[in-house]
């Protein structure tokens, strides 16, 4: 039992937190701007490298400098929106999709140019599990990830339900024409979407870097599970993205558990396929996703 919790369920939840934070941005962009943003993973990478630079400069813990990196990345994202996405706002969505694909390659190449392609460590060395939690094996950094995710989720929830801009975002996501008719400033909603999506992506990236390491391809590696999470949860539904991320993270890890006998139920080499199998089944049986998102 303890083995299942420590080595299969908790790692799955941690992975789920990271997927969930990343998937929110994808889901919102899809809901509000109506296109799949392939540059999302590399927005994450940009934020991680900015955080890393601050860590090098100040020697502070990555989580302390993360808010600054989130702000800078969100600011950069607003600039990129102006340059690459705004001209296509009235065009068919495929134009924006292609633009985002180009932007993805540009961001990654820029990061590789300025920071190099070497693998870096956000936090060096190995952390032992915390003693006071025995027999649960959780490390300090994992508590940070869990706690950080909860805080960000609550903040997002408050933003979407209690503030005017949050309500406007949900309105545009539900019905853009109606929202525009009621006098909602769509351009401001778009900006808020980029800021929220980019900030959460940076958090996901920094959490991932705390758990693993920093590399220029980390965003691209995360892109597919994040998309799967967004679709699973229901496109345009931030809470759905959270749920979808959790489901995919947990299923990926738990599928390797030896449920029957002593060998893994599924060869772990194929666990990436699990996320997609779930996604495909979902698209067939319930295309609106877990939380009744938009259908395409």
């Amino acid at each position: 039992m303890m083995e299942f919790l420590n080595f299969y369920l908790f790692p799955g939840i941690l992975l789920g937190c990271i997927y969930a934070l990343g998937a929110i941005g994808i889901s919102l962009t899809f809901g509000i701007l109506r296109f799949s943003n392939f540059a999302h993973g590399d927005t994450m990478v940009l934020g991680v490298y900015i955080t890393l630079s601050f860590v090098w400069l100040t020697d502070l813990h990555p989580l302390v400098v993360m808010p600054l990196a989130m702000a800078l990345t969100a600011f950069a994202m607003l600039g990129m929106d102006r340059a690459f996405f705004k001209p296509f706002r009235k065009s068919p969505p495929i134009m924006s999709v292609i633009a985002s694909f180009g932007l993805m390659l540009m961001i990654r190449s820029a990061v590789q140019f300025f920071w190099g392609t070497q693998i870096q460590a956000m936090v060096k060395g190995i952390q032992p599990p915390l003693q006071w939690l025995q027999p649960l094996m959780l490390r300090e950094k994992q508590l940070y990830i869990l706690g950080g995710t909860v805080i960000l989720m609550v903040a997002m929830h408050l933003l979407l339900t209690r503030t005017k801009i949050g309500k406007a975002m949900r309105a545009v996501s539900d019905n853009p024409d109606l929202a525009a008719l009621t006098g909602i400033n769509t351009e401001r909603v778009v900006q808020a979407t980029w800021i929220l999506g980019a900030s959460l992506a940076v958090a996901a990236g920094v959490f991932l870097a705390l758990d693993t390491q920093v590399e220029t391809n980390m965003g691209f590696k995360m892109l597919l599970p994040m998309f799967a999470a967004a679709i699973l949860g229901g496109i345009g539904k931030p809470y759905g993205a959270v749920l979808g991320g959790m489901v995919i993270g947990i299923v990926e890890e738990v599928s390797a558990y030896p449920w029957i006998g002593t060998t893994p139920l599924l060869n772990p080499g194929y666990k990436a396929g699990v996320a997609f199998a779930i996604m495909v089944l979902m698209l067939i049986w319930r295309p609106q996703g877990l939380l009744r998102g938009r259908q395409f």
């Binding site: 083995e3 080595f7 693998i119 693993t212 772990p268």
Partner: protein, 399 residues
Amino acid sequence: MKKFLATAAVAGLAAAPALADDIKIGSVAGATGPIAELVAPILAGRNLAAEHVNAQGGLLGGNNMVLILADSQCDPKAGVDAGQKVVSVEQVVAVIGASCSGATNGMVQSVTIPAGIMSISDSATAPSITDLKDNDLVFRTAPSDAYQGAALAKLAWDAGYRKLAVTYSNDDYNAGIAEVFAASFQELGGEITANQLHEPNKASYRAEITTLSAGGPEGLALFAYYGGSGITIIRNSLETGAFGKFLAADGMFDASVIETIGAENLVGNLMITQSASDPENASYQLFAELYADSGFDPAAPYAAHGYDAAFLVALAIQKAGSADPALLPAALRDVANAPGEIIRPGEWEKAVALLAEGKDINYEGASGPVDFDAAGDVAGFYSVNTVGDDGQYVMDYIR
């Protein structure tokens, strides 16, 4: 009349002597991706060879040897794209690369073999490349892992390991060497408690590792690229306490393993074999001196092999007397294998002079004698690397 003019123009072009022209050679490598750090010194080796050729008179009496770089990202799909770029767009006469075995397999099968272009890889080591139906077009200066896997198994056995778990990344190189390793280790009398592939590029391997650790293995034989899954697996293993000792091959040989995991966790616990150059070899010593300006360590994995691959392509073109791709494979065997007067790294002028006199030459490379067998493979020489107290790798040669 029009047609006549056109024909004449084409004929004129074909007959024009190739004076001080560029001769393009593809240089396909995983410049980005999971082994980017390993590729930089290899590219420096290739480029150095081209510099030597161009500084000492060039190819075929004054033509520039130009290496056209294309990024294979250590990925089969990207390898095919990179091959297409250099072969179809740039019209190269031969290709060096691609770096990783998967990328190389993809590139040669989809691009260079169908196009009749010779390729020499300087770091693709998968045993599967030996058996390709390649019309004698695929060569490599990197030895097949059929040797390295066995060498690592022997080392593990001699170091006292009797029960090991094996995991390998789902790609040509790692699957190939894991298979050889497991078979060799069992032949020696060792027990493989689990042998499981894993998907690279995942954020966590805790579940896989826990499953692998069943059955009481004394260590983990980890076949992966450090940037794909290797570092994450070592980190997750140490964190969960599933494994403390690791055996690995050259896909893991990078300083970032020590930097990210911390030397204190790896001293005495990590053993990495690597295809090395014999430091007592006169050719290697010559190369090391010439390579020093590049800013990289001449003992970096496959840097010497990269130099040899590029230098051999140049020698083959010179020997063939033209840059016709069809003539190159035979010419390559001629200049690389005995008999003939020995040519060492940097000795381009000497080689050109000997060839002009009609003499046979035998290139003795920085990485070894580079005598190609029937499959286009060379024999291997290996080192074993452990982590020293100062946080650097300590290299011993396996003789």
